[in-house]
C-alpha cells in the first residue's frame, strides 16, 4: 500500500499513457517522414552488426541503434561497443 502511494506520488518516468503515446508517435513519424517500411531498420541493424562483427568482437548487449529526430530531420545513431579486434 505504501508503495502504491509512493508510485502514485512519484510516477516512474515512461510508465504512463502519455509517454507511451509520445514514444509511439515519435517512432511512427520518423518512419513516415523517411517513408521507411516496418522492419527495414532492424534489417539494417543486423547487416551493420555483421559487417562490424567481421572486424571486431562486439558487446552485443550494449549496442545501441536508433533513429533520432532533430527539427524534422532524422539521424541514424549507431553505437557499437568494441571488445577487441579480430585479426
Amino acid at each position: 500500500m505504501q508503495m502504491q502511494i509512493f508510485n502514485w506520488l512519484f510516477p516512474a518516468k515512461g510508465d504512463d499513457v502519455r509517454s507511451t503515446a509520445k514514444d509511439r508517435m515519435r517512432s511512427m513519424l520518423t518512419h513516415d517522414r523517411l517513408e521507411l517500411p516496418a522492419g527495414r531498420l532492424e534489417t539494417l541493424e543486423e547487416e551493420l552488426m555483421a559487417v562490424v562483427g567481421r572486424y571486431f568482437e562486439l558487446d552485443k548487449d550494449t549496442t545501441h541503434f536508433d533513429l533520432q529526430q532533430y527539427e524534422r530531420r532524422a539521424s541514424l545513431i549507431a553505437n557499437f561497443r568494441l571488445l577487441r579486434s579480430k585479426c
Binding site: 502514485w8 506520488l9 512519484f10 510516477p11 504512463d16 499513457v17 502519455r18 509517454s19 503515446a21 509520445k22 509511439r24 508517435m25 515519435r26 511512427m28 513519424l29 513516415d32 517522414r33 529526430q69 527539427e71 524534422r72
Partner: protein, 271 residues
C-alpha cells in the same frame, strides 16, 4: 490593399477545422480588420451553418469561378460584423469544380479587398487540399492531441514545407485540449506535440462543450465573453496580427486540490 491569405488545414477530418475558421474569422474581424472567410470544402459546405448564414447564401465560390456572378454578389455579410464576409462553397459540386490557378486568381482578388482572407481547407491531402493552399501566403495547421490527428498534421506540415516558396509561415493550433487528462499523464501535452512536430505554436484551445452550443446557435464562440475557448480564439487572432500574447494558463483552473498535493510533492508532474 494587399491582405494576407491564410489557409486553415489539418489533414484529418473532424478535428475542428471549420469551427476554428469561423472563430478565428470572427475574432479577427472583432479587432477591426476586414476579413473574408472562404469555404473550400466544395460539396460539403458547412462554414455557412457555423456562421448562422445558411439562409443568406445565394451564389457560391464555383459560381464566381465559372462567372455566373460577380465576386461581390457571392460574398455574404456577417449578421453582426459588417467587416466580415463569407464566400460559401458549392454544395452540389465536387472538388474538381475548381483548379489551383482559378483559386490563385480568386485569392488575389480577395486580398485586394480584405485585410485577411481565411481559407477553410477540406480534409485530406488530395486535390481539395492542393486547391485550398494554392493561393495562400501562410497556413494554420489544426490538430488535437490524439495520435491519428498528430500524424496527419505531420503529413500536412511536410506538404507545406514542400511549398516553402509560396507559404512563408505555418503555425499550429492545438484544439480540444484536455488539461486534466494531461495532468494525469493520460494524454500528450502541448510541449509533447510541439516537440514531436517541431512546429511553432499559434494557440491552444481547450475542449469546451460551449463550442457545440455555439454551433447549434450559429454564433461562433469567439464573440462570447467568459468562455475559455472563446478567449483562446481571440488570443489566436491577436497573435496573427503580430501581438505577443502569452499562451493562457489552461492548467490552473482545472487543478483540483488533489493535483495541488501531487504537484507539491512532485513538481515534474504538470498540473
Amino acid at each position: 490593399m494587399s491582405g494576407r491569405v491564410i489557409v486553415i488545414t489539418s489533414g484529418k477530418g473532424g478535428v475542428g477545422k471549420t469551427t476554428a475558421s469561423a472563430n478565428i474569422g470572427v475574432a479577427l474581424a472583432s479587432t477591426g480588420v476586414s476579413v473574408a472567410l472562404v469555404d473550400m470544402d466544395i460539396g460539403l459546405r458547412n462554414l455557412d451553418i457555423l456562421m448562422g448564414l445558411e439562409n443568406r447564401v445565394v451564389y457560391n465560390l464555383v459560381d464566381v469561378v465559372e462567372e455566373r456572378c460577380k465576386l461581390r454578389q457571392a460574398l455574404v455579410k456577417d449578421k453582426k460584423l459588417p467587416n466580415l464576409s463569407l464566400l460559401p462553397a458549392a454544395q452540389t459540386r465536387d472538388k474538381s469544380a475548381v483548379n489551383a490557378e482559378q483559386m490563385k486568381a480568386l485569392c488575389g482578388e480577395l486580398k485586394s479587398m480584405y485585410d485577411f482572407v481565411l481559407v477553410d481547407s477540406p480534409a485530406g491531402i488530395e486535390q481539395g487540399f492542393q486547391n485550398a493552399v494554392a493561393g495562400a501566403d501562410e497556413a494554420i495547421v489544426i490538430t488535437t492531441p490524439e495520435m491519428s490527428a498528430v500524424r496527419d498534421a505531420d503529413r500536412i506540415i511536410g506538404l507545406l514545407e514542400a511549398r516553402k516558396d509560396e507559404i512563408k509561415e505555418y503555425r499550429l493550433v492545438l484544439n480540444r485540449y484536455r488539461p486534466t487528462m494531461v495532468a494525469n499523464n493520460d494524454m500528450m501535452s502541448v510541449d509533447d506535440v510541439l516537440e514531436i512536430l517541431s512546429v511553432k505554436l499559434l494557440g491552444v484551445v481547450p475542449e469546451d462543450e460551449d463550442i457545440i452550443i455555439s454551433t447549434n446557435k450559429g454564433e461562433p464562440i469567439s464573440g462570447t465573453d467568459n468562455i475559455r475557448a472563446g478567449l483562446a480564439y481571440r488570443n489566436i487572432a491577436r497573435r496573427i496580427r503580430g501581438e505577443d500574447v502569452a499562451i493562457m494558463d489552461l492548467e490552473s483552473k482545472n487543478s483540483t486540490w488533489i493535483n495541488k498535493i501531487v504537484s507539491f510533492f512532485n513538481p515534474t508532474v504538470r498540473v
